[in-house]
Symmetry: C2
Subunit: 231 residues, 2 copies
């Protein structure tokens, strides 16, 4: 086979040249594999076969690095959500966004930890627009849309942060099942006089499904929105 392209000189090899994209990509890989604590500039530099200082030519700080990684994950979630015209489609789209975020954070727990930390970061803004933009089709009056979108977003953030925390303790210690069983045991041993509620729902904690419970919360807010329209 004749060689149509001139042979690359090893010394001018740019395949592994540094770039923001490659840095963020490597950061995501480390975050997924080792967790937030594993992402250090030294580890990142080692993986990219360079010095720690080189990274600062493309990324201003560790916070910016985390923000960019977070934005990337959220963009991917929102890309899949279809348009909506009818109330049914609107409710479905919002559920899809919420579930997409839930699954993304299950896969990348550090997103759940970082999203609430930097206010109005790009990913958050896109998420807010995505949710708010479906409320019209849901029939929510304009004057109520700001509060409604904010309530949905805050609920998602709360679950996100919580799930990220669960994932972190899981890495450090026992698996999910064990952790849930231990917590349920502790609740059952609480005095029914001082902790009637926890004592009662301990059984539910042991067998509940995080994803189902998450959806129930979204439905609760959506039901509140629907009730407000004819109230």
């Amino acid at each position: 086979m004749t060689c149509m392209t001139p042979p690359r000189q090893r010394s001018v090899r740019r395949a592994d040249a540094l770039s923001t994209d490659r840095i963020v990509e490597a950061a995501i890989e480390i975050l997924d594999a080792e967790g937030e604590r594993g992402l250090t500039f030294r580890a990142l530099a080692a993986r990219l076969s360079t010095g720690a200082g080189a990274i600062y030519h493309h990324v201003a700080s560790k916070e910016e690095l985390l923000t960019e990684a977070t934005t990337g994950v959220i963009e991917r979630v929102l890309a899949d959500v279809p348009d909506s015209a009818t109330p049914e489609e609107g409710a479905r789209a919002i559920t899809l966004i919420a579930l997409g975020m839930f699954d993304a954070i299950d896969e990348h727990p550090w997103v759940g930890a970082h999203l609430p930390v930097v206010p109005w970061q790009p990913g958050m803004v896109r998420l807010f627009e995505s949710i708010g933009g479906r409320l019209d089709s849901l029939g929510v009056p304009e004057s109520a849309q700001f509060n409604a979108a904010s309530a949905l977003l805050n609920y998602i953030l709360g679950v996100a942060a919580q799930n990220a925390a669960n994932a972190r303790t899981r890495v450090a210690g026992a698996g999910r099942e064990e952790f849930m069983a231990e917590t349920a045991d502790r609740w059952e041993q609480l005095s029914p006089a001082s902790y009637p509620f926890l004592h009662r729902v301990a059984r539910q904690l042991r067998h509940h499904d995080d994803r189902e419970q998450f959806l129930a919360g979204v439905d609760l807010v959506l039901a509140g929105l629907a009730a407000g329209q004819d109230g």
Copy 2:
């Protein structure tokens, strides 16, 4: 005046002896004054006129220190909430808990940042019981109480984390008004084609009240609960 008590010997003075309570108290003072970044074992030791290592005789780690400070703040909030029997009293109690948490986090932003970080920490457990324990009087069926309490708790956590983040950027940079105005400006300049929702609600962002918006979210979940009962 005759001296009824023997004069204390300076060398046996125990008024400033170290104790977990004094350490947590000092930690809260530093956290409120300097923020999370200001709380270091060196700064804490300096304030308590001791060595950094001494603190480890009373507190196992920085995380435990933050957890104990957080628990203290939450206990104080929950102490003020009255019992409830009627649905109206139940709704009022839940609103009081939520508002109490909102104000406490406004005063101690680090609580909002730490509460979602350690899963099922004591403060969280107390909060969950407090909310769940009012759902009976609200008329929520037992089978729905676990999910309902969890939705309310997660919403509160989301707002808490968000407010803590806002407070942090406020300390670093501009005040709340300026930050809101800047964000609103940015939203108004977004293309109405790509960001119809944000473009539209930018005006509301500039004039909205965080506390009112927080309450609107709680009311939304409560409305959803009420709607579910006859649905």
